[in-house]
Symmetry: C2
Subunit: 317 residues, 2 copies
DNA sequence: TCCCAGCCTGTGAACGTGCACAGGCTATGC
DNA sequence: GCATAGCCTGTGCACGTTCACAGGCTGGGA
């Protein structure tokens, strides 16, 4: 039995006789043979692994539950295809340098880019190097060819604001996310578009998705426009803080003020009252990202996908 | 310039002249040379990567914020040593099988085992195969040689219960975690030990760390022992649900009922009222796990480390 | 009978590195 | 002057695959 034949039955099995196939498979079973991925990668030039690249500063990873869901989904999708997911962190400049040299050396076949802020240098670099890349969310500040998958941020925001208006709210404030982030920017755009002429800058406060920033923003809004009767927060985490601040101010939710969030992270249904929010299909997003990345590795040009965010009505609005 | 000399300057650089070193380093800089990890691994038999292995069912990863913190810490610690962290998921039997064959093939140098439940089959298997492994938390149901790093679960629980007693509480209930988990079991043991003769089974309810289970457990306790004046929850997530249930029952926290948690996850300080809890040093835990694993890979026998949980007093107790 | 196409199998080369070994050069001591 | 030890450098081999190619065997058509 020659190496060539064994190699053929392992990879596809074309042009190999039935006898040879069963013999090889039997031998594999009895000897406990495992193919050496390093040797394979050495000759094929492919690593059979892709990187899950985090460019978010450390602090936010602590509070944002979305990362874990995305990560887990990606790991499952990747493993399902016999590949491996490795985690790369590029929060500091030094880490960014390491990641660039690692990825540039061809140690991964592609990169899943998570939560990049505007003008993230790595995204252009990866694209210039011709390294298959899929971004989670539209990459701000880069107009080159790159794949991304995103929820319809503006559309989702409009849906929530419309829901608030249809339930009779007239003075709808918003706690916007960071404006160097697609979610932060486009959700605010959707809010503005849906309100049209009713838009009033004084009803807008800004946070960075974190709980503390949500607290500060809600406090600021209550001082500036105490007559508000609804709040749309650009993340569930900030909405949670808004609920606390509103209760302490003596307002009831949803009787006095309605509150809507965005994400439908695990947090939302455990809040008091349970939070109405826009559901992001994180499982489908991660699966689609992996699909797009594998297509790109196979040679397909970059392509992008937008998904709908679905309104989930609970008690808060 | 020969391959051998280049190899020597890259790995350590002993027995190489100053002239040769600078020449090689200059050449590396100008040509943009990157060492091929696959070729290196092929000959050394080491992969320079370690696995972050999750054996937790999917649902819990969504709610438990501790995983992300641990993961990020481990990724940073591993990257700092020039190695790579890859994420392996073994929630189902099929996934477990894949992981075993992958790890068994020697594709990683060691395994970081996260949150194993009692009698997790992989832990014994890894140990039997002689694969360096470090468990996060004491592995229940396995008494073979294995490294672990854990917080002092029982001691932390005693500290919290003592704190509640010292603030005048007499009827202290607990929401225990899952009993097939070290945290669940030993925190309950600590609670019981600290109460001594005062221990009363009716003041104990069980959850699985999830928010829903915390809700159910708190509801159950209020029905069974409505006179309770304090609750120690085995996780912040369950404590958060307890706060909601208590408020809805008309009780004030901390005036009527004091509430203490465990973990000090990001959640704790954003709750209303901010949660008193036992702080787990997740950053130190992940760093220590990586250290122990690298020691073991280098040949040191398994070793274990216990860390203290620190009381963090906020408003809830 | 011979040729050719279609299957199937074996073989040599290559991937890029680390390691052991051989050997050259230099300085030191006898 | 010669042996020896201490540095330094180059070379062959091995790691375990995949891939391209050569060639054998079989059956059908001229």
């Amino acid at each position: 039995m020659s190496r060539g034949t064994v190699s053929r039955v392992i990879n596809g099995g074309h042009w190999v006789s039935e006898d040879a196939r069963v013999a090889v498979e039997e031998a594999i079973r009895t000897t406990g043979y495992r193919t050496n991925h390093h040797a394979r990668s050495l000759v094929t030039g492919r690593s059979n692994s892709i990187a899950f690249l985090l460019t978010e500063p450390q602090r936010l990873l602590f509070t944002d539950p979305n990362f874990s869901i995305l990560l887990r989904g990606a790991a499952a999708a990747v493993a399902h295809r016999g590949m491996t997911l490795l985690l790369l962190v590029a929060g500091t400049a030094a880490e960014r340098e390491n990641v660039a040299s690692y990825v540039g050396a061809g140690h991964v076949d592609g990169v899943l880019m998570i939560s990049s802020h505007e003008n993230e240098p790595l995204i252009g670099w990866l694209s210039d190097q011709g390294i298959p890349t899929v971004s989670c969310g539209i990459p701000l500040g880069y107009d080159g060819p790159v794949s991304w998958v995103s929820v319809d941020e503006a559309g989702g925001a409009r849906t929530m604001v419309r829901h608030l208006r249809e339930s009779g709210r007239r003075r709808i404030a918003t706690i916007a996310g960071p404006q160097d982030t697609p979610g932060g920017r486009y959700r605010l755009e959707g809010y503005r578009a849906e309100l049209g002429d009713l838009y009033d800058e004084r009803y807008v406060a800004y946070g960075d998705y974190s709980s503390e920033s949500g607290h500060a923003a809600m406090t600021e809004l209550l001082e500036r426009v105490p007559d508000l009767d609804a709040v749309f927060a650009a993340s569930d985490t900030m909405a949670a803080s808004a609920l606390v601040v509103l209760r302490h101010s003596g307002r009831r939710v949803p009787e006095d003020v309605a509150v809507g969030g965005f994400d439908d992270s695990g947090l939302a249904e455990t809040l008091d009252p349970p939070l109405s929010t826009m559901h992001q299909p994180f499982d489908r997003i991660s699966a689609e990202m992996v699909d797009l990345l594998l297509d790109q590795i196979a040679g397909t040009p970059p392509k992008s996908v937008t998904m709908r965010a679905e309104l989930v009505v609970r008690a808060s609005a």
